[in-house]
């Protein structure tokens, strides 16, 4: 098992217009889009939303195949949602057998629900595909800045996130090393019942945890040596700046959400 091959954060580096947008602009636009998805009512609105999504995907140069792959884990949820909606929506019955009624409304409702979820997941994947984890944490910290006023530890949370991201590859490498060391002493991670395999992980997890704590301790000392004293009075080398393109993108998403809201109001 080559643990090192696991890609994390599923970020596809690139230099498309979407990659270059400010992470905050992307986050805001995504929220607008998700709101719009729930305001949509009928074919017209969903067609508009789909066109908008296709336009952004095309501009992002992310391969549609990668987006489809992202949908695989939710297929079960999609089927479940569809079935529930088909059978439990009251209305004009098309087919009825035993205690089940399939209604026209039910089929339409199920269809829209599935489309909604697919588009929602695609747009969130698009965000993580085109934004590096580091940018994403910076963007979140900046957007949640106002929450500091109500004593939410925004800086600490984003610091934790970025340190976690930094140490994932280091810990994966270490896991690999411990695994090899235990295998060399005859440990067996790959056969036996589920219980046996779970038990075989204990000699892997114990050293991993101990070393993680030791690392945390050393890192804390090293951070202190470099004058870390919390978020207060801290500056950043790379400050986020909204450019005209970012503002346009956010405005576009906002206009889309409002427009869909109005159209939805008329049942379109």
């Amino acid at each position: 098992m080559a643990l090192r091959d696991i890609t994390l954060g599923q970020y596809f580096p690139g230099s498309s217009p979407i990659h270059r947008l400010d992470p905050r602009a992307k986050l805001v636009a995504m929220i607008c889009y998700i709101v719009a998805l729930f305001l949509g009512q009928w074919f017209v609105t969903y067609a508009i939303l789909l066109l908008a999504l296709i336009a952004v995907v095309a501009a992002s140069t992310v391969k549609p195949k990668a987006l489809v792959r992202g949908l695989k884990p939710v297929v079960l949820i999609l089927i479940f949602t569809a079935v529930l909606n088909i059978f439990y929506t009251p209305g004009e019955p098309l087919v009825s057998f035993w205690i089940f009624n399939i209604t026209r409304e039910g089929i339409l409702h199920a269809f829209f629900m599935v489309v909604r979820i697919i588009m929602l997941i695609t747009c969130t994947f698009l965000l993580t595909y085109t934004t590096s984890p580091l940018e994403l944490t910076d963007g979140l910290e900046s957007l949640m800045g106002p929450l500091k006023k109500i004593h939410v530890p925004v800086h600490e949370l984003s610091m934790m996130m970025s340190i976690a991201l930094r140490f994932i590859p280091t810990l994966i490498e270490e896991t690999d090393k411990i695994m090899s060391a235990q295998k060399a002493r005859g440990a067996d991670f790959e056969s036996g019942s589920l219980m046996q395999r779970a038990r075989a992980l204990i000699p892997l997890l114990v050293p991993l945890f101990i070393s993680a704590f030791r690392r945390a301790d050393e890192l804390a000392t090293a951070m202190e040596c470099r004058c870390y004293h919390g978020g207060e009075g801290r500056t950043r080398m790379k400050q986020l700046h909204y450019r005209p393109g970012d503002v346009l993108f956010m405005l576009g998403a906002l206009v889309l959400a409002v427009g869909i809201g109005v159209l939805g109001h008329f049942g379109l």
Partner: protein
């Protein structure tokens, strides 16, 4: 003489355990380090050399006695940031001191904490990376670098704070020979060209031999404090502490034991060869 960058007065340190019976790690050390010096601190595991290093930027505070950094008492809570800005520290394990997942972001960490304006941070980061010859790796992920490169990034991270002194606690212990040479070359460059005071904690004799001044520690005491060439002349004394001397010195010592009249001052292979050539001429 100018004001010493680091000065200890009768520094004593013992860990406080629950039973109260605490072993003394440092026992009444008095020393001062002048700006621009390259000092090596040599000693066994448990000799107290790392503990001493941690007193130089207030990571540990003395149980007795005083430590002054550029005239500031390390016990003064309000001077903590000033002290740590003056005296940077590099540790043994490069992985556990790199904070960010991009090299240049990590180097920027120190100045960011100090509240330096972002334009100036950029400039400091570029200079620090240039000084350790890692400019081309600015956008790389640290976990993909070699040990020696990681350690140089860690040094750059300290440099970006513009310290007057850098304390390195066994920076080469986890590196291969190539990485060791890279790190030592960088340290020497910083000392010679940029005038930064260097305190190098080590247990490698050949690293210690490169310093201008060598402090040998044993059991919480300073047993020698002089130029490396003079310290290493006391071959029997060092051996009785379980410390070896550099190979050229060991060779000349053997010759001397055999009755050949050679000086013991050659520390490098080249110097040793020179001495032998003179002898044979």
């Amino acid at each position: 003489m100018s004001q010493p960058i680091i000065q200890t007065e009768n520094l004593t340190f013992r860990y406080t355990t629950e039973e109260g019976a605490a072993p003394t790690v440092l026992d009444g050390l008095t020393l001062s380090i002048q700006p621009g010096e390259f000092v090596a601190v040599l000693g066994h595991n448990g000799s107290g050399k790392s503990t001493l290093a941690k007193h130089f930027n207030a990571i540990l505070l003395p149980s007795g006695g005083k430590v002054y950094v550029d005239g500031m008492d390390t016990c003064g809570e309000d001077k903590l940031l000033d002290i740590r800005r003056q005296v940077g520290m590099v540790f043994q394990n490069p992985d556990n001191q790199i904070v960010a997942s991009v090299v240049e972001e990590d180097v920027a960490f120190g100045p960011e904490n100090l509240g330096v304006p972002s334009g100036e941070i950029r400039e400091r980061v570029d200079r620090a990376l240039k000084a350790v010859r890692m400019t081309e790796y600015a956008r790389h992920a640290p976990h993909l670098l070699s040990g020696g490169q990681k350690q140089r990034v860690a040094i750059a991270g300290v440099l970006a704070m513009r310290p007057r002194c850098i304390v390195l606690d066994e920076p080469t212990a986890m590196l291969d020979p190539v990485g060791r040479r890279e790190v030592l070359d960088t340290i020497r460059y910083l000392n010679r060209e940029q005038g930064i005071t260097v305190v190098l904690i080590t247990h490698h004799m050949d690293e210690a031999a490169q310093a201008d001044r060598l402090i040998v520690m044993h059991d919480g005491h300073i047993v020698a404090d002089d130029k490396p060439a003079l310290v290493f002349q006391n071959v029997d004394g060092l051996r009785s502490l379980g410390l070896e001397v550099p190979e050229p010195v060991a060779l000349l010592y053997e010759l001397r034991q055999a009755g050949v009249d050679v000086p013991l001052t050659a520390l490098t292979v080249e110097e040793c060869a020179g001495v032998l050539r003179e002898l044979l001429a």
